[in-house]
């Protein structure tokens, strides 16, 4: 009995042991990687690439405008869009949790629609369709207002779901404790539940900020004045003027200048939250 079991667990096999196989597999992966790098280095026309993407004088000419104008506008669009999205998202999240059925349905429909549509479509809708459909209506703030609205409409759908999840993640006992102290449901929500929910959802909200930062490039399709250009539009305009791709590279680096630190912040917050759970 004992003998047969042993045989089943450790069948004698010819060829490589498990450890040898593992070592071989790892070796093959390294070889493939090194081969790919060498192939790229040999095949690429470095002179041409440098000429196309890294012309120092073109890059130099972009400063300081790429920061003081383009990056500034990108940040402005993102932050206003985020603010609109947060306010609207909070409203929709509370509607989603409402005891009044129609509010819940309305919030659900909103979320489904605006999560399902491409952001670009929303931009075109706000920029083109709304002015045509309602002649005479003026969105406050011109382009800035339009962008804040378009980004906000898209962001609100995602943020509403995040905020709802955050509110539901606060233990039930917190609401009970607040109610037993005499808080009304609304006051308990504002003073006790929402502050705790926001601590829970700070990492996903920051991620949403990063996404919006990139989506702000869709302003490209709204038709903006020279002063309203953000990174993508600015980079593209300069690229076509100079017939060179260096401006695209510089604009891209400017995005990373913001998104990478934000990503690091999110990871640190998540690590901290993990710590708090333990």
């Amino acid at each position: 009995m004992a003998d047969t079991e042993k045989l089943d667990l450790q069948p004698k096999k010819k060829g490589l042991t498990r450890r040898q196989k593992r070592r071989l597999s790892r070796g093959v992966q390294y070889v493939v990687f090194v081969a790919a790098v060498i192939a790229f280095a040999v095949a690429a026309d470095w002179g041409r690439l440098k000429n196309q993407f890294a012309q120092a004088d073109i890059a130099e000419r972009m400063f300081p405008d790429v920061i003081t104008l383009a990056l500034k506008n990108t940040v402005l669009y993102t932050v206003t869009g985020f603010a609109v999205g947060l306010a609207l998202g909070m409203l929709i999240a509370l509607m989603r949790l409402s005891s009044v059925g129609p509010y819940r349905w309305l919030a659900g429909i909103y979320i489904e629609i605006f999560r399902g549509l491409p952001a670009l479509l929303i931009f075109i809708f706000i920029g083109v369709a709304v002015p045509l459909a309602f002649p005479g209506t003026e969105i406050i703030g011109g382009t800035y207002g339009k962008v804040a609205l378009a980004l906000g409409l898209v962001a609100a759908a995602y943020m509403a779901e995040t905020i709802r999840a955050g509110i539901q993640a606060v233990p039930k006992g917190q609401m009970e404790a607040a109610r037993s102290l005499g808080f009304s449901p609304a006051r308990a929500m504002v003073s006790i539940i929402i502050p705790q929910a926001f601590r829970i959802i700070l990492p996903p909200l920051t991620n949403e900020l990063v996404l919006l930062f990139k989506d702000s490039s869709l302003v490209l399709f709204l038709g903006v004045t020279l002063e309203e250009r953000e990174l993508s539009k600015y980079g593209r305009d300069l690229a076509s003027q100079t017939a060179n791709s260096t401006p695209i590279l510089v604009a891209g680096l400017c995005y990373l200048l913001i998104t990478i630190p934000l990503g690091l912040v999110v990871r640190r917050m998540e690590a901290k939250a993990q710590e708090a759970v333990k």
Binding site: P171, G173, Q174, E176, A177, A178, R179, S180, L181, G182, F183, S184, R187, S191, I192, P195, Q196, R199, A276
Partner: protein
Amino acid sequence: MSPSRSEIHVSGLHKSFGDNHVLRGIDLEIGQGEVVCVIGPSGSGKSTLLRCVNLLEEPTKGQVFVGGTELTDPDVDIDAVRRRIGMVFQQFNLFPHLTVTENLTLPQRRVLRRGKSEAAKVAAENLRRVGLAEKADAYPSSLSGGQQQRVAIARALAMGPEVMLFDEPTSALDPELVGDVLAVMRMLADEGMTMMVVTHEMTFAREVADRVVFMDGGVVVEDGTPAQVIGDPRHDRTRHFLSRLLDPAMANVEEETSDQVGKSE
């Protein structure tokens, strides 16, 4: 209707969760300054009864009066009534995003609309009463369970309640921390606070309570002085429960009866 001396008055109280009939007709009277301990096996409905007294659970049938106000009246301002009823939970339920002092001052300011300095004064006073003045600026997560529960008691007291409800206040504590919380509760009892305490602490019930109520299966089985109910129980169910509680190591293995299965408090 209710006599002026009665602080809590429950009559004909029923509560069901779906098909689960947890309370099956409870009548209970607690006088001013009286300390009543409610004991009974888990699933007997004692926590549900306590939660019905401040309407955290909506009774299915029956009436609840606190301080002469009917809570079960659909037009009652429940938030106003709850200000007069302090509640202490098994899991403390402190607000983790606030310091100890803020836990005490925020409800005073938001609910009672007290000024900043008055709220701070009341908070400090009540923290001193529960022996935690030096933890004023700490966050709840840095406190032991016993300390958290004492802060929770102080938070309830800061609202100036006329009645205090305790829902198994020591059940989530490490055994060596239970004493500190019971000491605070004993102090309150000595000061004349009206208290309704759901507990498994028989020593506390025997020594501090004016009355002990034994519940089982959603009804009050026995109601009397500690000496009667704990010292000389008349019902088999009470005797059986007490023998298991006081001497758990000597209990026999029993068949589960169907009405004990799947019940929760």
